[in-house]
């Protein structure tokens, strides 16, 4: 009995190690290749680099493109998330508290939540026409699109959360003469922290990693491209220079890796909650 138990444990452990190797292999390959010279890469694709050759990184970092793309991604993600944290709790709160009594807010709720069912494909073509007519095929326009798109799921998740919070505290605050604004920011919004964090995590990864929307809106010049666009355009321009492409990929994965190491628990739970409900 005992030895049988051990065997199943060994199988399980081997399986998990194999899976880990599968996850690490592309990452290992990226980092290892980014330190190789081109000739080294052709002679030995899988092995470790002979020496830490930083020239790929220095040539990527010497051109302004990487840093420009990186700062564009930071700005677009940062500003979008900042405004989502401001606007989504506000609108969700008003809808959650009004929709039971007011027909208009009830309709508004379903009007917004219906957007969850609309795939990006259906709005992309007219959206690009609209944005170019408005002259906002730039970072500003991208931020507006992210804010608009995040509304549906954000409101859905947050209204669901708010409905579970009893209104007694609010009523007490009103009787004490607090303004709606003060009451919201001092009592309700702090209580929304868990759901705000879920929405923020899911949307940060989405905005940061998104390729499709930027490829439609930010394709006018290099000055506006995000990190994912930069990776793709770099690949098209340097299709023979693999080692440098791996340096670009490594530099693009790095910010995500660092955030993952720091916020691992929050990211896992945020993405899981977002996946089930969203």
């Amino acid at each position: 009995m005992r030895s049988k138990l051990k065997l199943s444990e060994v199988i399980r452990y081997t399986l998990l190690v194999l899976g880990t190797v599968t996850v690490f292999f592309p990452l290992y390959l990226t980092v290892a290749s980014s330190f190789k010279t081109s000739s080294e890469m052709f002679s030995d694709f899988f092995g470790l680099p002979v020496a830490l050759n930083w020239s790929n990184y220095s040539s990527v970092l010497q051109a302004p493109d990487y840093l420009m793309a990186f700062s564009n991604s930071v700005i677009i993600t940062g500003v979008s998330i900042g405004f989502m944290m401001l606007l989504l709790p506000m609108s969700s709160y008003a809808i959650a508290r009004r929709m039971k009594h007011s027909k208009i807010y009830n309709i508004l709720y379903f009007f917004i939540v219906a957007g969850i069912f609309v795939p990006f494909q259906v709005k992309m073509l007219p959206m690009v026409k609209l944005m170019s007519a408005m002259g906002i095929m730039n970072q500003f326009g991208a931020i507006l699109i992210y804010l608009a798109t995040s509304t549906c799921e954000g409101v859905f998740l947050m209204v669901g959360y708010l409905q579970a919070i009893p209104t007694d505290l609010e009523e007490a605050a009103y009787i004490d003469g607090a303004s709606t604004n003060k009451m919201f920011y001092q009592i309700i919004r702090p209580m929304m922290a868990p759901i705000i964090s879920t929405v923020v995590i899911k949307n940060s990864l989405w905005v940061w990693n998104d390729y499709f929307m930027p490829s439609l809106v930010l394709n006018q010049s290099k000055a506006v491209q995000t990190l994912t666009l930069y990776q793709y355009s770099f690949k098209l321009e340097n299709s023979t220079n693999y080692t440098i492409i791996f340096a670009v990929v490594a530099l693009s994965i790095l910010p995500i890796t660092i955030s993952y190491l720091i916020f691992q628990k929050k990211i896992v739970s945020g993405l899981m909650d977002g996946a089930i409900k969203g």
């Binding site: 899976g19 390959l29 506000m90 609309v118 494909q121 073509l125 709606t180 994965i253 996946a275």
Partner: protein, 300 residues
């Protein structure tokens, strides 16, 4: 005194109403301008023959829609997506269940394994596509020569039959993460006593899986099924980074086909009407998803 109170509460009511209105205003405006307006104008264009650039176009009724169902390119792309989604669902579900069972029962380095398995979920699809592109370009052929397997010696992405598996593998690498963690949390809802008593009754591991574990994780599996179906029907980024739809259109997904016809082939209004059809399909899937997740709460 009493009238004073009423006046006060009326003022409050007014203030509350105004604040609430101002709270919903920005989100509602953004959503209306950048989601509703494109959809409505898209619906309008889908009944015209606009090519996306010209100044004049005319109303042509449902002609675009009638054309779709006899359009070879559309049918080919849609069947690519459906086959692809089926393969994705099958592979990810099986792998995720195996990994979740192994992770859940495993006692060693638990945090490390969970952390590792989840990491791919955080990397962008495009980046993953680029890395796998080079693995197929150089790595796999090198392996093919070393092991003397002829069909591996060429880049699988340049083969009409194999390219789709190249995309699928990259996709699976990322997409197993979230389902695995979801299944683990479903596994943790199974009461220990049930497992223990089934062991005493002499049920083997397979019977235990079929009659107990499977029933507990079924609601989660159905949610994952729908999520993956949606992912498979909307696939785009991996294809851009891996094959660009080739070779010879063998891996052109419906999204890619719509994009190209709309922006490159001057078939703007026709592409929109295809997008409308796809939207109906994907929305139906999404409605199922929401229904299932609200059902899941009952099981919890």
């Amino acid at each position: 005194m009493e009238s004073h109170q009423i006046v006060k509460s009326r003022n409050y009511d007014k203030e509350r109403r105004l604040t609430h209105f101002l709270y919903v205003l920005p989100s509602t405006l953004l959503y209306t301008v950048f989601t509703i307006v494109p959809i409505v104008s898209g619906l309008y264009y889908s009944f015209t023959n606009w090519n996306g650039i010209s100044r004049v176009y005319k109303y042509i009724g449902v002609q675009n829609y009638l054309k779709i169902f006899s359009d070879r390119r559309f049918i080919k792309a849609i069947s690519f997506n459906i086959t692809y989604a089926a393969m994705l669902i099958l592979c990810v579900l099986i792998l995720a269940v195996i990994l979740a069972l192994a992770l859940n029962a495993n006692r060693f380095h638990r945090t490390f394994f969970q952390m590792t398995y989840f990491f791919p979920a955080c990397i962008s699809m495009l980046t993953i596509g680029l890395v796998f592109n080079y693995i197929y370009f150089q790595g796999v052929p090198a392996l093919g020569y070393a092991l003397n397997i002829p069909w591996l010696q060429k880049n699988i992405l340049s083969s009409k039959q194999l390219a789709v598996y190249g995309i699928l593998i990259a996709n699976i690498w990322k997409s197993v993460a979230i389902p695995t963690v979801l299944i683990i949390s479903a596994l943790q809802t199974i009461p220990n006593e049930i497992i223990e008593s089934s062991k005493i009754d002499g049920a083997n591991a397979f019977q235990r899986f079929r009659h107990i574990i499977f029933r507990f994780i079924l609601p989660t599996l159905s949610i994952i099924f729908v999520l993956l179906l949606k992912e498979g029907l909307m696939i785009y980024d991996y294809i851009v980074a891996l094959t660009g739809g080739g070779p010879a259109g063998a891996t052109e997904s419906i999204t890619m086909s719509i994009y190209r016809q709309g922006f490159e082939d001057m078939k703007f209004s026709y592409a929109i009407s295809q997008a409308m059809i796809v939207a109906v399909i994907i929305s139906t899937v999404s409605i199922f998803q929401i229904k299932m997740s609200s059902k899941k709460k009952i099981y919890d």
